[in-house]
Amino acid sequence: MMRFEPVIGLEVHAQLLTRSKLFCACSAAFGAPPNAHTCPVCMAFPGVLPVTNRQAVEFAIRAGLAAGSTIAPSSRWARKNYFYPDLPKAYQISMYEAPICIGGALQFSADGVEKRVRLVRIHLEEDAGKSIHDAQADASLVDLNRAGVPLLEIVSEPDLRSAADAVAYLRALRSILQYLEVCDGNMEEGSFRCDANVSIRPAGSDALGTRAEIKNMNSFRSVENAIDHEIARQIEVVSGGGRVEQETRLWDADRQVTRPMRSKELAHDYRYFPDPDLPPLVVDAAWVEKVRRELPELPAARRRRFETELGLSAYDAEVLTARRDVADYYEAALARHRNPKALGNWVMESILRIVREQKLDAELCIARWPVAPGDLADLVAAIDDGTISGKIAKTVFDEMVTSGKPPRAIIAARGLVQVTDSGAIASAVDRVLAAHPDKVSEYRGGKDKLFGFFVGQVMKATEGKANPKQVNELLKERLG
């Protein structure tokens, strides 16, 4: 039985975080009422002309430098011609023979293994508008707000060998783009989209098989399922003596299959040619150097720094640097109170949970997170200086989330200051032991498990405020 190896390449379209569109001064922001962010230029009225957004070009340079690509000193806008209602000019301004970034690579880890995927190119192009097909029975509705929003297209070489690796690559790429602040990486909102080119070949072969292009995968889970399904489908086809067709297939998330696109439209002949309305895009060495100087610390470097300078484990460093906003939050807290391990745990276990629960995960806005980094730092500081126990801290944290109040205020208002007076603890211990003489005998008789019972009773007697360490010590002392 022939063994097959999957060969996967990915094309990512990332919407850029510019204020205005790529070729006109309309807002590029998401969520406006239909056709509110339009003008004669992006609506392709007769006589209009495009003018390139400098910031979009700078974002492309940033991404290229982060990926180690060559930044082309001169690149060319090209027209990609086809008809569709959400493409107002009936051509998309893109780049064809001379893209702005050539080559490069992405390094990431998948299941603890370091992988490297080479890039073919990165280029700029404009997005199309949106068509809505289910609002009316016999008509589709067209909204051109998105038409002209800048996209970065990142094309990888077919270096991926599994669906899981593909997802790991996408996560790493998204993280980098978020770090660079060029894209917010929101797959559900469509600001980070992925198409996959999937083929198979006999294991050990060098040749490339016929590939199918898979579209319509709207989440990382879909990407993984779709690619796995497609690999299996292709293996079945070939094993059965058939041939894989070069075609575009859509992922159907409901039925969990890929199926060929229904419209048997003409094979696209895009008739690319250099756009005569736009001169060559010149990027000089000085500009590249300026962007290079201003590059933020990238995820991999930050992860390494968290491990070496802060002493975090590889796993913790990975989780805390996966998203730039999380890493920034963490370091802001750290600046206030330097306990990397404790703060790391609090961020991972509590903050990220709250953010997911409150569905803030999609929004890249630290200011909207319910607990300010300084307040989290103060909470950990209160544990570290003995004001409260770790257990009480959880209670305080819950109230910080709902009330937005700072920890010390909550501790004071609710009188949660830890009891550390050994006299007070000792008398609580004595009271508890006196109240349960039979259990004391059982414990002294060998039932060690009862220790936890006594600890619980002492905590209850002190309204949870007794310092646990002292409780343990005193109980051990009195129980013998």
Binding site: F45, P46, G47, L49, N81, F273, P276
Partner: protein, 493 residues
């Protein structure tokens, strides 16, 4: 006092306005009255914007009364080829597909003239989407040459040329992609200027061929053309192909003396096919230049014979892409009763576009299509480089080149409609100029035996409109062709 606009120029009218001898209102009424009287025969206009014009004239008169004119053009009636986007005024590109289209914005050329106080009397007829050399390709009927109503005025900007030649306004704008200003200027006996590519913003003109289109003026004489150019020229942030080159004071720089102008005469433009009177008039004009002090040298443009082929591949390819937006979805004509999207596209476009436009879209699509790009479009782009180099070499030794604008005088309506290729060949003397992006001026230099005007073409170095206008002005001072008018057009019964 009935004003006859044909006896005025922009410059003389402005002078009389400033001396309060006449008002903008009077000039404008004269224009509107002439149009009303003559346009049934001439058909130069597609839209007459009388109310707007009167309002603009009233505002101009107020400014003039205060002694605060906005510019040398304040209060003067002009016409605009119907490819210029005018906010609130129908703009059709002489096509059924835009028959009822009203733009929501002004193009830059229009905005600059508006800001200068000019009065717009209306939108003029042209070949559909500027594709043609006779204005016969308009979806709304041909325009007639006032010198002989059975003849074409030239194209594609025929309406604008006629409006000026027949005294329906004092100046007009056209566009020139392969000769579309210069050819009608020559056929109608007036001045037409195609500026250097990038000199005037293209923002707002219905695009035909983006790397070739250029906006330019029609005028009664060279001084007027200089005045209009000055108002139009200059960098536009809305047009990425517009040049950042300072705008000289074209009008005040004009002198009657030529100085030591080196005039090159391209031998390829005097080879077969020239109507004898055209050749003799143009040679005579060159002799006048020589008598004014110019030195004349025969030069060669070896790739001239490839210009038409090059043009008809590049222009149509760009046009096929530029006209794809006319799909009946956001504006323009949508075919009734279309059952699905494919039909909406196919029928709207087939019904909305005329035969010549369809022909060029097909040709351009073919030239770009898979498998043919290198042989056609790619090849044409390289030949364009060779054509440009011919001019670069010529301009190493010359300041301007002189040639006829057209091989013949105006031909008869209907004469060339059966053979598209023969129509294309009328552009042979003008087309290389667009491929090389150079400025060129056509000015009247004679009439033939039938009394039809002949045009002298002067071609200049990039951004050297000064030399062109200077040479043209000096020639005008020494001759009288620019003062000739076509016979009065009688009112249609």
């Amino acid at each position: 006092m009935k004003l006859d606009l044909s006896s005025l120029t922009l410059a003389t009218a402005a002078e009389r306005l400033s001396r309060r001898e006449i008002s903008s209102r009077e000039l404008t009424e004269a224009a509107l009255e002439t149009i009303a009287r003559t346009d049934a025969r001439l058909h130069a206009f597609l839209t007459v914007s009388a109310d707007e014009a009167r309002a603009q004239a009233a505002a101009a008169d107020e400014r003039l009364a205060r002694g605060e004119p906005l510019s040398a053009l304040d209060g003067l009636p002009l016409a605009l080829k119907d490819v210029f986007s005018t906010r609130g005024v129908r703009t059709t590109a002489a096509s059924r597909i835009l028959e009822n289209f009203v733009p929501p914005y002004d193009g830059t050329a229009v905005a600059r003239l508006r800001a200068s106080g000019a009065v717009f009397v209306g939108k003029t007829n042209c070949d559909e989407f500027a594709m043609g050399s006779s204005t016969e390709n308009s979806a709304f009927g041909a325009t007639r040459n006032p010198w002989d109503l059975t003849r074409v005025p030239g194209g594609s900007s025929g309406g604008s040329a006629v409006a000026v030649a027949a005294g329906q306004c004092l100046g007009a704008l056209g566009t020139d992609t392969g000769g579309s200003i210069r050819l009608p200027a020559a056929y109608c006996g007036i001045v037409g200027l195609k500026p250097t590519y990038g000199r005037v913003s293209r923002y707002g003109i219905v695009a035909y061929a983006s790397s070739l289109d250029q906006v330019g003026p029609f005028a009664r004489d060279v001084r007027d053309a200089a005045i209009l150019l000055e108002a139009l020229a200059g960098h536009d942030p809305l047009d990425s192909t517009s040049a950042r080159v300072a705008v000289p004071r074209y009008a005040s720089a004009l002198r009657a003396e030529l100085g030591t102008l080196r005039v090159g005469v391209p031998r390829e433009y005097f080879e077969e096919g020239l109507q004898p009177e055209v050749e003799s008039s143009v040679r005579e004009a060159i002799a006048v230049l020589e008598s004014l002090g110019a030195s004349i040298e025969i030069i060669s443009l070896p790739h001239a014979r490839y210009a038409i082929a090059t043009y008809y591949l590049l222009a149509t390819a760009e046009a096929s892409s530029n006209l794809a937006r006319y799909d009946g979805i956001r504006y323009g004509r949508r075919a009734g009763g279309a059952q699905n999207l494919a039909e909406t596209y196919g029928r709207s476009r087939a019904e909305g576009f005329g035969a010549e436009v369809k022909r060029r879209i097909m040709l351009g699509t073919y030239a770009l299509s898979a498998g043919y790009y290198d042989a056609y479009y790619g090849k044409a782009q390289k030949v364009r480089t060779l054509i440009r180099r011919d001019f670069d070499e010529a301009f190493a030794r010359c300041d301007v080149l002189a040639a006829p604008t057209a091989a013949t005088t105006a031909f008869a309506l209907g004469e060339k409609l059966d053979d598209p290729l023969s129509m294309y060949l009328s552009d042979v003397l003008t087309i290389s100029v667009n491929l090389a992006g150079l400025p060129a001026l056509s000015l009247p230099c004679g009439v033939d035996g039938a009394g039809l005007p002949i045009g002298l073409q002067l071609i200049g170095k990039p951004f050297d409109e000064l030399s062109l206008l200077g040479a043209g002005y000096a020639y005008e001072q020494a001759t009288d062709w620019h003062s000739q008018h076509p016979p009065a057009v009688e009112q249609a019964p």
